[in-house]
């Protein structure tokens, strides 16, 4: 969210909520169901594997594209919605480079990893970056340069 606000502060504040939705979309669609499914399995419920792990594709680029396309159909400006949702998803993924996700799945199981910084190591930066992003976005919005 912090990086999305910084991006909108730099590029103009139109469609900010859509970009923010795009940033959280991979976790909403591809992680939350997995966490809930695993909790159900660990509680002893007979949940089929595909209903636990299948959602994970929505956290990968080739799953994000159709997800954003489908979600964009609900918007009045579908093209702008699709662009902002997808940009948000890719921004989200950019901060997962330390986790080695199979970025080209289902065409390859190669795990992309820049290895510059671990996801956990970014945690101390989150809150200051969030406040900086909010401040920058607010300043740009007040200037009316959207």
């Amino acid at each position: 969210m912090a990086t999305a606000l910084l991006a909108k502060a730099a590029l103009g504040t139109r469609h900010t909520p859509t970009l923010l939705l795009g940033v959280v979309l991979p976790d909403l669609a591809g992680r939350v169901p997995v966490v809930l499914g695993l909790a159900a399995v660990n509680a002893g419920l007979p949940v089929p594997d595909v209903l636990v792990y299948g959602w994970g594709v929505l956290h990968l680029p080739f799953g994000m594209v159709p997800l954003c396309f489908l979600l964009a159909q609900a918007f009045a400006n579908r093209r702008a919605a699709f662009g902002n949702l997808l940009a948000g998803c890719l921004l989200h993924l950019a901060f997962h480079t330390g986790s080695g996700y199979p970025l080209l799945f289902p065409f390859s199981t190669w795990h992309g990893e820049l290895g510059w910084i671990g996801t956990e190591a970014t945690i101390p930066w989150s809150l200051p970056l969030g406040l900086l992003g909010l401040g920058a976005w607010w300043w740009r919005r007040k200037r009316g340069a959207s």
Binding site: P17, L20, L38
Partner: protein, 123 residues
């Protein structure tokens, strides 16, 4: 895609479990990232990866049950022996930030959009 992704996850999980009952994996290593410590004994501890618990040999008196760690471990026969342990002291802070993130997401979803012949973002 969902089924293939499920197979990708479960195949790796099955491989680790198979290694725990066979000796074919001796010399190979496995990276258990962001796993939860489930129990601690004198010279070994158990971590939960997805829905499976794995027993790892390693002594860490400061380790706590419920803590999130990342472990690189290698097979010695059927035994998984720790090579490198990374603790994540910022984890509770991250969980707190996660809750803030959930609240912000609700704010964005409720206050950031309106309906006008389709969803229209405010601002």
């Amino acid at each position: 895609m969902a089924w293939r992704h499920t197979a990708l996850v479960t195949d790796r999980s099955d491989w680790i479990r198979d290694c725990e009952v066979e000796e074919d994996c001796a010399g190979r290593r496995v990276f258990l990232a962001l796993v939860t410590v489930m129990s601690i004994e004198d010279d070994r501890y158990t971590v939960r990866k997805l829905e499976n618990d794995h027993l790892i040999q390693g002594v860490h008196p400061e380790l706590k049950v419920g803590e999130t760690v990342s472990v690189i471990a290698g097979w010695e026969g059927e035994l998984l022996v720790e090579h490198e342990l990374t603790r994540h002291p910022w984890r509770p802070y991250k969980n707190g930030l996660g809750l803030i993130g959930v609240a912000l997401t609700v704010v964005v979803l409720v206050g950031g959009f309106r309906w006008e012949q389709g969803v229209v973002p405010r601002g």
